[in-house]
């Protein structure tokens, strides 16, 4: 059925003989997903990425929800560190704790933050040869004005782990 759907989108299947496909695509489920995916591919190939199919719009809204900081700086670094212990505390302590001892918690934030900052400084630098920065290699290949290297790349940039 997916084959037929693909053929229909490519214009290789008469629309009159595709009533059953359209009906099941409308009904939802797997075929509806495929319908969206195949159209997404078509849009990308034609360079029409602004059309509002569910998949691309979901990606876009997820992106919009992400805060984007254009220039990394030290201030941002501290804010991010402060946010980590906050979520940990929320999980491990009750709301009552908060209402009674908010100021104590605030002091704790600072304590944890200082501790973590110290940890960062204690990590000894490693020789780069021990740890190939794959994500940098791929980002370089993706941005270089001319390239052939990506025909042999082994992993996607977005899958990099710290």
């Amino acid at each position: 059925m997916k084959d037929q759907l693909s053929a229909l989108i490519d214009g290789e299947l008469e629309i009159d003989s595709a009533d059953h496909l359209i009906a099941s695509a409308k009904a939802g489920g797997e075929l509806k997903q495929c319908w969206a995916h195949y159209h997404l591919i078509g849009d990308v190939m034609r360079g029409e990425m602004n059309t509002n199919y569910s998949l691309s719009s979901r990606v876009m809204s997820a992106l919009e929800a992400e805060p984007t900081v254009l220039a990394p700086n030290r201030l941002q670094e501290r804010v991010d560190m402060a946010s980590v212990p906050e979520s940990r505390l929320t999980v491990t302590h009750s709301g009552k704790f908060w209402s009674i001892a908010a100021s104590v918690a605030a002091v704790m934030f600072v304590g944890v933050m200082v501790l973590q900052l110290n940890q960062t400084e204690e990590l000894m630098p490693v020789e780069i040869a021990q740890s190939v920065p794959t994500e940098y290699l791929q980002a370089h290949q993706a941005a270089a004005p001319n390239g052939a290297a990506y025909y042999i790349q082994t992993a996607s940039f977005t899958e990099s782990k710290q």
């Binding site: 990394p72 700086n73 190939v132 980002a139 941005a143 270089a144 004005p145 977005t158 710290q162």
Partner: protein, 326 residues
């Protein structure tokens, strides 16, 4: 007698400068041929121990340039691109990731055999072109052109251009000891006579679902990082902010190019748990240099000699006056 030698010297001089002009003309013809001709074939790309065969179909349909590249031997590697489509400067890459197909979009890269830019001015400043012998590549007669670096800040190239059509048939990247680091060449090539464009659409694999890769870069950003002194001949061609899942702050990426060789500079704050990296390493034609500056990880990556990545890594600094205003 003196006059005779003078005349001889002058004529030799003009012959050699004519020969250099011819070499640049051949390169210019080659740059256009890759974009204007209709052809299909198979090329093999090799870098270090890695190797890949790619089937290419290229058509220029009344100024609309279309290319399809299909990777032929990627059964063993997940995540490798399977198909690369380009139309003008838009590039779409389809790669397999587990049971999904991921669609990635890029812009403005010069892909083989259109590796040479049509504007050769930047390259002329840093390289010397000379004509070599004639050799056969994929059954076609080719003119060898040596594109030799004028200094130690970039590698040299050897180019084989079809004597009849100018199309780039083979290209190698050679270091200063004349060792080949990277090679890309046609093993099969023929002209494409049909005007049919049905090949320009991906083969949909109905057993897989498709998704767009999350956007990983914001192009053309500004930041307070400066590179005080770039290696001669290199200019900044782009500045992006890479959004990397799992990283709290985007990674700054600046791209420098001398017209054909390029280098990326990455800057990111050393957040908690991140192990700083220092030192230098080489993988195939690529050199990497890393160091730490003021709580930031600096990493430089490029298909250039070690001296070039090290020079860029050392030249990075923060614009002090802007920083103190914050």
């Amino acid at each position: 007698m003196l006059r005779f030698f003078g005349a001889l010297f002058l004529s030799l001089l003009s012959i050699s400068s004519l020969a250099a002009d011819d070499a640049w003309l051949s390169l210019q013809k080659s740059a256009y041929a890759a974009r204007e001709l209709n052809y299909q074939g198979v090329f093999v790309y090799q870098n270090g121990k890695q190797k890949s065969s790619v089937q290419i179909t290229h058509m220029n349909n009344a100024g609309r340039e279309m290319t399809r590249n299909v990777v032929l031997d990627n059964s063993s590697q997940a995540n490798q691109p399977r198909e690369v489509y380009s139309q003008g400067s838009d590039i779409v890459i389809m790669r397999q990731k587990n049971q999904k197909m991921v669609i990635e979009k890029r812009r403005g890269q010069n892909l083989f055999p259109a590796m040479l830019p049509t504007d050769l001015r930047a390259i002329k400043a840093s390289y010397t072109a000379t004509l070599g012998p004639k050799e056969y590549i994929a059954g076609r007669e080719a003119q060898v052109i040596d594109l030799v670096s004028n200094d130690a800040l970039r590698y040299s190239y050897k180019i084989w251009a079809d004597t009849e059509y100018g199309l780039l048939l083979k290209m190698t990247l050679v270091d200063n000891n004349n060792k080949t680091l990277e090679q890309i060449e046609f093993t099969q090539l023929s002209t494409l006579n049909s005007q049919d464009v049905n090949w320009f659409q991906p083969k949909i694999d109905v057993s897989k679902s498709y998704e767009m890769q999350d956007k990983t870069a914001v192009n053309h950003v500004e930041s307070d990082w400066i590179v005080a002194e770039l290696p001669a001949g290199y200019v900044k061609v782009d500045h992006r902010a890479l959004v990397v899942p799992g990283k709290a702050t985007p990674v700054d990426q600046m791209i420098f190019s001398d017209g054909i060789s390029s280098v990326s500079l990455f800057i990111e704050p050393l957040n908690k748990g991140m192990r700083p990296k220092t030192g230098r390493m080489g993988i195939g034609s690529t050199n990497v240099c890393a160091h730490v500056l003021d709580g930031y990880q600096i990493t430089v990556v490029g298909e250039v000699p070690p001296a070039t990545v090290m020079q860029i890594a050392k030249a990075v600094s923060f614009k002090k006056q802007t920083a103190s205003n914050k």
